[in-house]
Point group: C2
Chain length 331, copies 2
């Protein structure tokens, strides 16, 4: 079945109206905008419903977009107009601010987006798993404490503050320097093995409290491996502001998902460009949608995503994300 021009207009109007008002749209509301009677609209709505683009809550309720309807809207009806002046200006001040390191600019811009849209933003840096250890550094502090730092070739740092009572710190430093030579260059993911089989015996020889030191090492590397992703949220609680999440159960479910590492993986797989995943496709919850894109700036890879209710301002969000992506790529 072919979708007529008028049907497209009606569908577009319904999506945008519903996004604004969160209320089913009636034939009457529509006929004020288009020049025809409500009955005509109703006839068209019946067809659009048969096509699967519209839904009713009950016999005599107005229509709202179905998941398919949103998809159709995003693919065919959305006008890729420029950002509104306001949105644009705010983002510009961030990206044109030379003082910001890129990662900070991204984070700041996502905070901004969360603020102005009331959705949730996520930056997902590339896994540090593939990093290789570049350097192990020890720094003596006061009172038999040392600072242990692990640095990777991509510039990630993990550090730990260790208290070693009754230990000759000089000796510890010598030992660590020895270890340093042995493990530099090892991929982070393989390091714990190496630690156990190659390093453990050596620490034992040199340091009295070898148990403590060894464990500190082991821990530091473990948390490195666990922290396989560098993830930052902005506006995590914004869902509380959305009327469709006014019920505790849904909020609970969603916030739990945000803590769960799985959400990250779901978000990661993706082709290039700015993509929209609606409802069930979001892999998070059928009530939310995700707009996301990858970036790669001189080896610094990552994904940016905006998570909002299915009733999302797709046009605006896609444009915002496009703008950010362009700014990163052109920088």
């Amino acid at each position: 079945m072919v979708v007529t021009k008028r049907q497209n207009e009606i569908l577009k109007f319904i999506v945008e109206e519903y996004v604004k008002t969160v209320k089913p749209v009636s034939s009457n509301t529509i006929c004020k905008k288009l020049n025809c009677s409500s009955a005509t609209i109703r006839n068209e709505m019946v067809l659009l419903e048969e096509l699967g683009y519209l839904e009713k809550n009950h016999y005599a309720s107005g229509r709202q977009p179905s998941e398919q309807g949103y998809k159709y809207y995003v693919e065919n009806l959305m006008t890729p107009k420029d950002l509104t002046g306001e949105d644009m200006l705010k983002l510009q001040t961030i990206f044109h601010n030379q003082s910001l390191v890129l990662s900070d600019a991204i984070e700041k811009s996502l905070q901004l987006i969360s603020e102005i849209t009331n959705y949730t933003s996520v930056v997902l840096g590339k896994s540090s798993n593939e990093n290789k250890l570049k350097k192990v550094e020890v720094l003596p502090l006061e009172d038999n404490r040392i600072l242990l730092m692990l640095i990777t070739d991509k510039g990630y740092v993990e550090y730990k503050n260790i208290y070693l009572p009754n230990t000759d710190i000089e000796e510890v430093i010598k030992t660590v320097n020895l270890i340093n030579k042995m493990i530099v260059g090892t991929p982070i993911s393989e390091i714990n093995k190496k630690l156990e089989y190659d390093i453990k015996p050596i620490i034992g020889k040199y340091v009295k409290q070898h148990e403590m030191l060894y464990n500190a090492f082991y821990d530091a590397f473990s948390s490195f491996v666990n922290k396989t992703n560098d993830i930052h949220f902005a506006g995590k609680n914004n869902f509380l502001k959305q009327p469709e999440f006014n019920n505790i159960e849904k909020v609970k479910e969603l916030l739990a998902k945000f803590d769960d590492a799985k959400i990250i993986n779901e978000i990661e797989e993706q082709n290039n460009g700015v993509n929209v995943y609606i409802g069930k496709d979001s892999e998070i919850s059928e009530d939310v949608s995700v707009v996301k894109t990858k970036y790669n700036y001189n080896g610094e890879e990552g994904t940016i995503a905006i998570i909002g209710p299915k009733r999302m301002e797709y046009e605006r969000v896609v444009n915002l994300l496009n703008y950010i992506k362009e700014n990163i790529d052109n920088q």
Copy 2:
């Protein structure tokens, strides 16, 4: 007016029953436990209400503890019995695990507490504001990127990944080493001033892209200052599980408080020991209570707090916190 032994028993029972069931306690429920009729209990309840320890929701509802009632319970009725076997065992495995650095053990134990109690836990490390800069370190990475690390004497580290296209990295490193000599020893809080008046001119002389480098420095130190507190939450969303927070508005209010830095300050002031702040005294919301304590382990200072609904298992939480405190002090 004197509180009789029986009145104490009744109050204790009501508190513990209400904490369990979240429902007003009726005279009938009580008389099953004590050997007397419901009418007798009712007479006593009238007296306890006059003393301000009990409350009614309406004419014919059962009684529940008032804020004052909880206070009286915590101060006079709570039996400081040992931890139950289960709670104890779980905590032991954390603290007797020699492999954990103290700060990690604390964090792990709070995660555990949040899990088993469904309350929210907070560790608040001492402000890094009083720290002095110990070392500035630069490490060249691939592709004209450098890693900038700032290390304080107390062992805090802040790092930034900077991309400096078209710049002689060797020159940058020389410059930074120069800067290093000039600012080591400066308190973090004063560093931005020094940067602006003493350091800025120097970087200008040595580095082409001085703007970029200078700003990176400035940023790194700024975020150091802003991060005046080292704060970690566990079970932030646990409030969603508590029946008294089944309304979005309250949850919103509370989660906003958690993000707000003020909550930290409110929590910080405190004398020694494990203290209980009920309802309005919590300074957070009249619906929550806070149990907290300070620790000081070899210069590593901080505060631990458990935040829960006013209807809290005070006995259990106080005992848990006591156990942790003892373990830190004795370690």
